[in-house]
């Protein structure tokens, strides 16, 4: 027993020596080595305890030679294998599975696979981090076509976010990449993590694939947080490609014109009211609709009470389109208010919720042609099966101008893994 524990300690010491040599030139390595040394100390004490009080301590850590030869700067050679010593990427996943049934004509009730989301985080240095988000979404038309046949059902892959960020300090961080546009609370609070949000679905104004608010933004972003006397003022300032040729998509492979989109987002999380967040943003772009060119101004605001007893999220946005060279402008508004409350009974696993939402788009609005106005509400309850999975049951009622009212029932299980 004593001998095997001794070998165990020696092995750990040797491994720590190799790791130390492998990453000795990086700031992260010092922290890692300290952690390993500490672990060794703990193990040594445990060994001493097991062997009886007063047992002699193992030899000092620094005296231990490495158990295997150390390669060059970027590789560690171990038992004939070559292990790359690149940045360590952490992966987290989100998924959901749904059942829905509505009284809308032409629709069928049934199961839907929802989205499979992978989120990656990779620390390149203490100040530089890469974040990514990839989704696979079940679609009726995602498969390949052959010989003019209609597209087959399948999964649509999408790079939702990919950004590299340099953190100078809490006050100043700069990044480049593809983002969820930070002009809307929901868009950046929950991304594609259905499990994170209380409800089954996103509000219509920020729906993926929707046109009201540009969900994605490709470019650069400067962000940070200033104490501001306890107001904790957070900011995002961005410059990038605006909407792409298809309005619901960002300009991934280039902008559709030479006018870059810019945005400013400010919000406060005051010390005095822990749980409160309030702010607003402005977004400016030029969009092309066929040969016509429009200036786009989006202004929005939000108030959020983060705690769950109660939880309150309210957002409002106005989208203004003015055609270049022609008089007149069009204003479209959207808002929603969501209220939820984590019940104190039954181990606090139940959380009923309600949301009212509204979208008004003028009938003659040329950029949002085909996007109907909406008034609707939903009520539901969330049950947390574990700390990492939930079941949500929801009833929705929606009304669009000139169309029959739609009622629907939705059931979702969502989780992180």
């Amino acid at each position: 027993m004593r001998r095997s524990l001794g070998w165990l300690c020696l092995g750990i010491l040797a491994a720590s020596g190799a790791v130390q040599a492998q990453t000795a030139n990086t700031p992260v390595s010092a922290e890692l080595v300290q952690t390993l040394l500490h672990r060794i100390d703990m193990l040594e004490k445990r060994v001493a305890e097991l062997e009886g009080k007063g047992a002699p301590a193992p030899p000092p850590v620094a005296a231990a030679p490495p158990a295997f030869p150390v390669g060059h700067d970027h590789e560690v050679e171990m038992a004939g294998q070559s292990i790359p010593s690149g940045p360590l990427m952490k992966v987290a996943g989100f998924g959901d599975f749904n059942f829905s049934g509505t009284d809308q004509r032409g629709t069928r009730s049934g199961f839907n696979e929802g989205q499979f989301t992978l989120h990656t985080t990779s620390v390149l240095s203490p100040r530089v981090t890469v974040f990514g988000e990839v989704t696979l979404t079940a679609r009726a038309d995602a498969g390949a076509t052959t010989g003019g046949a209609p597209a087959a059902p399948g999964f649509n892959a999408e790079l939702e976010r990919l950004l590299i960020r340099f953190d100078q300090s809490d006050y100043f961080k700069v990044s480049f990449g593809r983002y969820h546009t930070p002009i809307n609370y929901w868009n950046t609070a929950y991304h594609h993590g259905q499990w994170l949000q209380t409800t089954v679905s996103r509000p219509e104004m920020t729906q993926f694939g929707g046109r009201f608010i540009p969900v994605h933004f490709v470019g650069g972003l400067v962000e940070g947080a200033l104490p501001a006397g306890g107001l904790n003022l957070n900011y995002n300032v961005g410059l990038g490609n605006g909407r792409g040729p298809i309005l619901s998509r960002g300009g991934d492979s280039g902008d559709s014109n030479n006018h870059k989109a810019w945005l400013v987002n400010l919000f406060s999380k005051p010390d005095r009211f822990f749980g409160l967040q309030a702010g607003g943003s402005a977004y400016r772009d030029e969009v092309n609709v066929g040969p016509r060119v429009f200036n786009e101004w989006i202004t929005s605001g939000h108030v959020v009470w983060h705690k769950e007893t109660p939880e309150l999220i309210a957002e409002v946005a106005n989208v203004n389109h003015t055609e270049v060279g022609r008089p007149g402008s069009f204003n479209s508004q959207a808002y929603y208010v969501q209220f939820a409350y984590r019940l104190p009974w039954a181990k606090q696993l139940w959380k009923p919720y309600y949301r009212w939402e509204y979208i008004h788009i003028p009938r003659t609005e040329p950029v949002f042609a085909g996007v109907p106005s909406l008034a609707g509400s939903l009520v539901g309850i969330r049950y947390d099966i574990t700390s990492f999975a939930a079941i949500k049951m929801e009833y929705r009622n929606q009304r669009r101008p000139g169309l029959p009212r739609i009622n629907g029932g939705f059931l979702q299980t969502s989780f992180t893994f």
């Binding site: 203490p126 974040f131 809490d170 991304h191 904790n232 999380k269 010390d271 606090q348 700390s387």
Partner: protein, 152 residues
């Protein structure tokens, strides 16, 4: 009379601040901070403040579940349940607001040793178990055991 004296003693004992019941906020000696307001400490714990200074990042050390130190921090500072705390950090990383969550530690001894050796680290340990030489932060100008100290 004896019963009255015992009750009186218990009452006085309850009023006298006890450092042993308080949770001390200990940091690596290289951290250039001696005093934090409660709100500033909350920002550190929430991951909203990630730098002590431009050249020193915060490393947050939190006890594993069930530990009294963790329960106190969750209840007093985060004001969250265990499930809310987990969801908070998963969401924080998912939103790209932090590269990772707090480091989990399994004993007060481990916490103090890590805090002593790891640059920028901050840990929460039973005030009675803080070894000499480790830096204990004042919270709102108060140390553990002083009247008005909020972490207990």
């Amino acid at each position: 009379m004896r019963r009255v004296l015992i009750l009186l003693w218990l009452w006085v004992a309850a009023l006298v601040p006890s450092a042993a019941a308080d949770i001390a906020v200990v940091v690596n000696p290289g951290v250039p901070v001696n005093d934090l307001s409660f709100a500033e400490m909350r920002k550190v714990l929430l991951g909203d403040r990630q730098f002590w200074s431009p050249n020193l990042k915060v490393t947050l050390l939190i006890r594993a579940p069930v530990a009294r130190e963790r329960d106190t921090v969750l209840k007093t500072v985060y004001q969250m349940t265990e499930a809310q705390f987990r969801q908070y950090w998963i969401g924080k990383v998912f939103r790209a607001e932090a590269a990772g969550g707090p480091r989990i530690i399994y004993s007060n001894e481990e916490a103090t040793q890590m805090a002593a050796s790891m640059p920028g680290s901050i840990a929460f340990v039973d005030a009675a178990q803080v070894p000499k030489g480790l830096k204990t932060l004042k919270i709102d100008g108060k140390l553990p055991g002083e009247a008005g100290y909020r972490l207990h």
